[in-house]
Symmetry: C2
Subunit: 235 residues, 2 copies
DNA sequence: AAGTGGTCTAGACCACTTC
DNA sequence: AAGTGGTCTAGACCACTTT
């Protein structure tokens, strides 16, 4: 037995929908009908329907009614925080350098604008599983790298400069040949491509303010993503 | 100017939060305070706060108040429908076969349980970019493959058997060496690993009822995922 | 005109937290 | 005890869709 009326109703409707009692794209009873049926106010029914709507089980159309929504199965949730799959991360080096073509494109900067590079090695059980590189445009008056080393996470690196809410990130997943120094550290041959995760950090205007590359060794394993279609398990 | 009061309030609070007016993990004014300030009922304020909560900008704690929530940047949205990155898909072959070790594990079936394989090639501008394989346990009385060929999508393949709501899918992204027939079709060398997407389809009890593998050629490009942190653009 | 969802109000009561 | 969010009600009015 649920504690709250609206949750009781959510569970009941959910059950009906999942059992297939309503065919795909069928219409549900109206708010007033449901309110009468469950003996609650219309407000409570709306709260229940809102939850089902957020969960993606139904949609509503103004003036028409509520309809069963077919799940799509093409949206996935991926967790990736730059440390995923590792239990220890060790700084390799930090340097200020001239940007390669790739970095110039990724950050949208000219060739004569220097960048700060942060290199890190991720390990799992003392085994190197990934090599992580971050690049941000260098500016005079940047906090000393010695300080940053101790904290440095990607968006956090930037949040001294940008409000963390003003930042968006994008991932790209592909394969690429590791540079020699990466192959060395990961103990992989340099002529076999590695699973590679690219991260772009943008401000809200769309300017790229940070770029990251992470080479995953075969030992890393696979990235996992779950279908975004989930039932109301909580509250 | 927004049309509705609650949206007006969402925008205002959003602006305050994004501009950094409230420090991280600061407390917002109480519902009653906000209701008085905006001159609306408490119900309306709650609706606005609910939206911000769903957007991940704030959390609420019973008896305490509403608090600013720092964005995490480790959750991403990935769109993958099995056709992503291609504009044309062509059936290669359909067959009933004995499962390999990999397939047996993935589907949780014994070696003497046959499976149906669906092979497909995805093309973009007449260039093969991916090779897609799906495996589902074979059963007597299965709809004739000739029929299925025309529709076959992955979850759709199964929805004749399971209520579409009773299905969950999981993705894994890794790399693997393509079998010879895949390398052939994709015109790739067989001794260089390819970006590979694995898909598991499970029923709600956790039993695997379908398994898929998709080999992506270098021409495919990269998979893209966006940080899950988004502002209220709609409702 | 009648039925549907969408917005909004005013007020009651409860549960939790703080002082 | 006072303040906070959480649940719930009854009823008004509006906008959209169907007949």
């Amino acid at each position: 037995m649920e504690k709250h009326l609206y949750m009781e109703i959510v569970r009941q409707l959910e059950k009906d929908i999942l059992s297939g009692a309503y065919g795909p794209s069928d219409m549900l009873p109206s708010e007033n009908t449901l309110a009468a049926k469950f003996g609650v106010s219309r407000v409570t029914i709306r709260k229940s329907l809102d939850i089902l709507k957020n969960d993606g089980l139904i949609t509503s159309m103004h003036g028409k009614g509520y309809f069963i929504k077919m799940p799509t199965f093409n949206k996935y949730h991926l967790i990736f925080d730059g440390k995923t799959g590792s239990d220890y991360s060790r700084f390799q080096k930090v340097l200020i350098s001239w940007p390669s073509d790739e970095i110039q494109r990724a950050l949208g900067i000219p060739a004569d604008r220097r960048v700060v590079e942060f290199h890190r090695v991720l390990e799992r059980s003392w085994l190197p599983v990934a090599y992580d590189e971050k690049f941000i445009p260098y500016e005079r008056g940047m906090p000393s790298v010695e300080i940053e080393i101790n904290y440095a996470e990607f968006p956090e690196l930037l949040s001294s400069k940008f409000s963390p809410f003003a930042i968006k990130t994008k991932l790209e997943i592909g394969m690429s040949y590791p540079p020699a120094y990466v192959a060395n550290v990961l103990e992989c041959p340099a002529d076999i491509p590695l699973l590679t995760v690219y991260r772009y950090v943008c401000d809200r205007s769309g300017n790229n303010v940070g770029y990251g590359r992470q080479f995953l060794s075969p030992d890393f394993g696979r990235l996992e993503a779950d279908s975004d279609y989930s039932l109301t398990s909580e509250f």
